[in-house]
């Protein structure tokens, strides 16, 4: 299935070079079907934006900030469209919100460059220095840490804090970045391939209020069910994992120097505990729909018990696997005396934050094309991953950094921002990075979804071997922190 993904994407990319005409005629037919507006219609205003970003989530708002702060784009007119309300945060609420993201150092660099990171650190963020990932079916484990816990691996930040920090930064850019809140897009009208005489050459965005906006480049940051991607008809490889994630805020039994992220792979799905503060952590438990519903229905005490036993119990381990695991480990120890860190157990949970249990379905999705003439997709609109690696937001921020840099350079070369040349460069660069990551995440998910002995033995050995190879671990960490 993964091979299919890569092959289809490669084919599409190659096919684009050969069949540019064919695709543009397809776009033309789509736009024809949507009734190209007349040139004399004018759609009310002659104003043409340089960039419109559709979707004001973490990635969309970061994109708007990033474009607004780029010196070579300082004369461009940028608009952000968000269907919801403006997220303002004067001070941080006392309780933690449920949805959190792991922000890698690469993403933190981007946010620092935008100027939002200082707001985030002032409000609330939790760096962690170590990550322990282990199996429920054997005692294989792998720990990631950098140089004896000196450097930070990543940060856990609440999604609300990120969006509010970015919104605050956007306010300071209000001279050339506009934002329209509570504006829902009803329809997009795509431009014809070549400059046909009676059509507008720009992308037109029709809002629910009846207003029509024109733009030279539309950036779709509207999430996994992206309307931009759907209306363009971009084929998307996607599947549902038949899993839902249950997220909650946990109160630990006793305060601890909470700077380790824990993840255990149960046969039903991974359970993760991410530090929020010395006394609280965030839970992300991905499991089947059925179990997730059961978990949601449990009362608080039973839920806490379920969490603790998920992390601590060894019921899934068989003797065979245990013996094999010990043998592997001793065999490896003869080759590599510098074994990995010993296994630690995560802190026990005492209670759950009030009203903080939420459930949402999980899936994988990848758009086979990230771009079209005058359109680019960023974030979840282009790629959607399983939360087990904490990479979803980071892939999106990577898209933002790459696209901003390419658009800045294109503007400095006097190019039309919607031209295909630099958009194609964005697509190839990001697909080159995103696809291996997505393939790895999907592989991990499938590898750990079973407890049949051969697979368990295979992954046990693999995990133990990787744990003892510091260079390999460093490579993995470097790739994940881009």
């Amino acid at each position: 299935m993964l091979n299919l993904t890569r092959a289809s994407i490669a084919r599409n990319g190659f096919g684009r070079c050969l069949m540019a005409e064919k695709r543009s005629s397809a776009v033309k037919s789509v736009s024809r079907g949507l009734a190209c507006a007349d040139h004399s219609d004018g759609s009310g205003s002659n104003e043409v934006y340089d960039v419109i970003i559709s979707g004001g989530g973490m990635v969309g708002t970061a994109m708007a900030c990033s474009l607004g702060m780029h010196p070579k784009l300082s004369e461009k007119k940028i608009l952000l469209l968000e269907a919801g309300n403006k997220k303002v945060m004067d001070k941080v609420p006392d309780s933690y919100s449920t949805r959190v993201s792991s922000i890698s150092p690469g993403s933190a660099t981007l946010l620092t460059g935008i100027g939002a990171w200082e707001h985030i650190t002032k409000w609330r963020c939790k760096p962690y220095k170590k990550m322990q990932v282990w199996d429920a079916c054997s005692d294989a484990l792998i720990t990631f840490d950098k140089d004896n816990l000196e450097e930070v691996m990543a940060y856990i930040v609440e999604n609300d804090v990120v969006v509010a920090a970015l919104t605050k930064q956007l306010d300071s850019l209000s001279d050339h970045v506009q934002v329209k809140y509570r504006s829902k897009v009803v329809k997009y009208i795509w431009p014809a391939a070549h400059q046909a005489v009676r059509s507008v050459p720009w992308v037109q965005v029709v809002l629910a209020s009846g207003e029509t906006l024109q733009t030279k480049l539309l950036i779709g940051a509207d999430g996994p069910n992206s309307m931009v991607r759907r209306q363009l008809g971009i084929p998307t490889v996607k599947w549902n994992y038949d899993q839902s994630a249950v997220v909650a805020v946990l109160r630990l039994s006793e305060p601890t120097e909470n700077n380790v992220a824990w993840q255990r792979f149960l046969p039903t799905g991974p359970i993760a505990m991410l530090p929020l503060s010395d006394t609280e952590s965030s839970l992300v438990w991905s499991t089947s729909h059925h179990l997730a519903e059961e978990l949601m229905a449990l009362d608080d005490e039973c839920f806490v018990d379920a969490i603790n036993s998920a992390f601590w119990s060894n019921v899934n381990q068989s003797e065979l696997v245990e013996t094999a695991g010990t043998l592997f480990r001793s065999a490896l120890a003869t080759f590599m005396p510098s074994a990995g860190s010993p296994r630690q157990l995560p802190p026990s949970v005492a209670a759950i934050g009030p009203k903080s249990r939420v459930m949402f379905p999980l899936g994988m999705g990848h758009a086979s094309e990230y771009i079209r003439h005058r359109v680019a997709l960023v974030g979840d609109a282009a790629h959607r991953v399983h939360p087990l690696a904490g990479q979803g937001a980071n892939l999106g921020f990577g898209d933002v950094a790459c696209l901003t840099q390419l658009l800045g350079q294109a503007a400095f070369n006097g190019k039309d921002l919607g031209a295909m040349q630099h958009l194609l460069e964005y697509e190839s660069e990001r697909q080159r990075h995103n696809l291996p990551m997505m393939a790895a995440i999907d592989l991990m998910k499938r590898l750990y979804s079973t407890n049949t002995a051969p697979v368990v033995l295979l992954r046990t050995f693999g995990l133990q071997a990787t744990n003892m190879l510091p260079t390999l671990k460093e490579q993995i960490m470097a790739f994940a922190s881009k």
Binding site: E21, P71, K72, A196, G414, D416
Partner: protein, 340 residues
Amino acid sequence: MFANKSGRVMLGSCRRKAISVCSVVQSLVGNNLFSWNVGCKQRTLWLQMNVAERTQQRAVHRKLSTRAVHQTTVDPDELKRFRLLASKWWDENGEFKALHAMNDLRVPFIRDNLLNMHKAQHPGKPLAGLRVLDVGCGGGLLTEPLGRLGASVLGIDPVEENIGTAQLHSSCDPHLGGRVSYRACTLEELSADVAGGETDRGDTMFDAVVASEVVEHLADLETFAFCCSRILKPGGSLFITTINKTNLSYALAIVAAEQLLRIVPKGTHDWEKFISPVELERLLESNCFSVQSVQGMMYNPASGAWSWTNSTAINYALHAVKLAEDPQTDKADNSAASQS
């Protein structure tokens, strides 16, 4: 005085028939390597017209150019006429593909050299406040990027259809409207207007003149250099991109393109009209220019991209500066002389 210059112009009406043949062939032939040269020919044959015809044409041009300057909306009847041409010029994968790709080299070349001489106010508009003339602008492929960088650009071309196409394309973009304008006229006419001080059209001298892929189609370069010198401010820049006169350029541009592969009709290019950088430099220096830099360019037909190269054997780009008259700026001349 003007008749004198016209007297130096060569060729008769047989060339006009050649133009129409070229355009027919061009529409029949698909994507090809050197078709953009044909396109260049189509747009800049201003010196290759009959003298009698030219005097007649000038009156017509005057009338058209007056209308062209003030035109902000396009007449719907004319739109139909421009339709076919519009798709050719502005189709980035079409016949002018190589010319579109050349923007990746020539826009930074022009921008960076102008920035060296005039510091930018802010990086969003590096060429703000500069007046630039694009000679032989065709469909406006180079004019629009320069306009986007903040310069006030005037694009001239003797072929009215090209000016129409260019105006139609730039009229859609309100950000370009104020900065980019077009006129169907010749360089001689424009330089006469500027020197003659006709201020009703707001003509003043230019900070930079760009003549990209034009010089290899002109018969009389002396006139060209003289006119450029007249319309440039002292210290103003002249940018030229053209083809060298070497065995290699003969092999590729003439033999390969015209005779072997027959992708371009015979006689489209005249190798005799190619000029080497040394000769061009000599010509410009005799017209009060000082050549600042010459750089070779190379087209890779497989990737469709241009790149800078050390060899000026085929294509090259040249930057020259008009010498200032007063001795205070001789300092600039000396440093330029040591550079070139």
